[in-house]
Amino acid sequence: MNRKVLFGGLLVSLPLVILLLLSLGRDPHQVGSPLVGRPAPHFTLPVVGGGESVTLESMRGRTVVLNFWATWCVPCLEEHPVLAAGPRRFGGDVVFLGVVYQDETADVRRFLREQGSSYPSLLDDSGKVAIAYGVYGVPETFFVSPGGTIVDKQVGPLTPDLLAFYIDRARSAAAAPSKSTS
């Protein structure tokens, strides 16, 4: 009888143990993006503060840092200086774009006036672009290679080191388009 109980217990628990062991190294908060390694979805969005709309297509040949953010998001405030220093730090072949999601234009203007801005912030009122990029929350940052492929996706605030790391990867992805892992 004891042997039967042991056998039954093993039968039930072994698959569970195997499943847990297989998932041991994974971060449960990091839901991988199916977009990494694929062409970045196109978009044309109006710029906060007016002016001509910005099209992703027109950025071809340059590395694009696409940052989804909102004024009500504290980590976005934390990473803002890192991104704001970006254009000067990385030069003209890297384009920084902010996409504001689920926010009020007036709040965004005030935020940018107070915190400073060095690159265009785009308005995505209908959430179209955020959904096309599979955005769950803010901040999320996509790194698009000069060839227009999404090379990496960062969930959570960027540090100067992380930013440099991802930009390096996106730049060097120019030669070999597509095929990348996260």
Binding site: G32, S33, P34, P41, F43, K128, I131, G134, Y136
Partner: protein, 209 residues
Amino acid sequence: MNSALARPALRSLLLALSAALAAPLTAQAPGDAPIDLAQVANLVGAPRGRELAGDALEAEAQRVSSVLRCPVCQGLSVADSPSTMATHMRQQVRELVAAGFSEDQVLSYFEASYGEFVRLQPPLRGINWLVWLAPVAGLALGLGIVVWVLRGATATGRTPGAAPAATASPAAPVSERDPLPEDPALAQAVLRVRAVAYGWPGGRRPEAR
């Protein structure tokens, strides 16, 4: 015409109307460019169904939204979630369905950006079979165990696989029908229990029947 309506009735009617119209109205709000259908078609192919409008559109949009998972609330469908993200996704579903995209195409479109996770029903492929088959397998296993235990109970004291107890017991010798433990003290206890429980004199089955 309006003056004929009592004011409270009018107000409640207006409230109900505005609630019913909220989603379609926001979908047409100024500045909200419609979804880029060409880009969607690029991902999932040309629309497979026909263009919809009116009630058919609402019903189909509702149906597709109810199998699409809201990414920010995870446990809820886009149709059930009150979040802004879900509202936006409902609008998109509506636009896509109106343009004639099939349920599978709409789901595939969202899957391209969010992964298979957005499908509330995991599609039948790869490891997902496990999700569909495991409950059936579990049920079969449970039934098997129940049958096994029940058979063990009817064939008391016999090894599994022996002839069923029902046909064997009347003809079997007395000692085999009501087996006793080998330990004499334990056997005495069992006899006492049988005497109390069944009213058998001395704990032994009365032969006459």
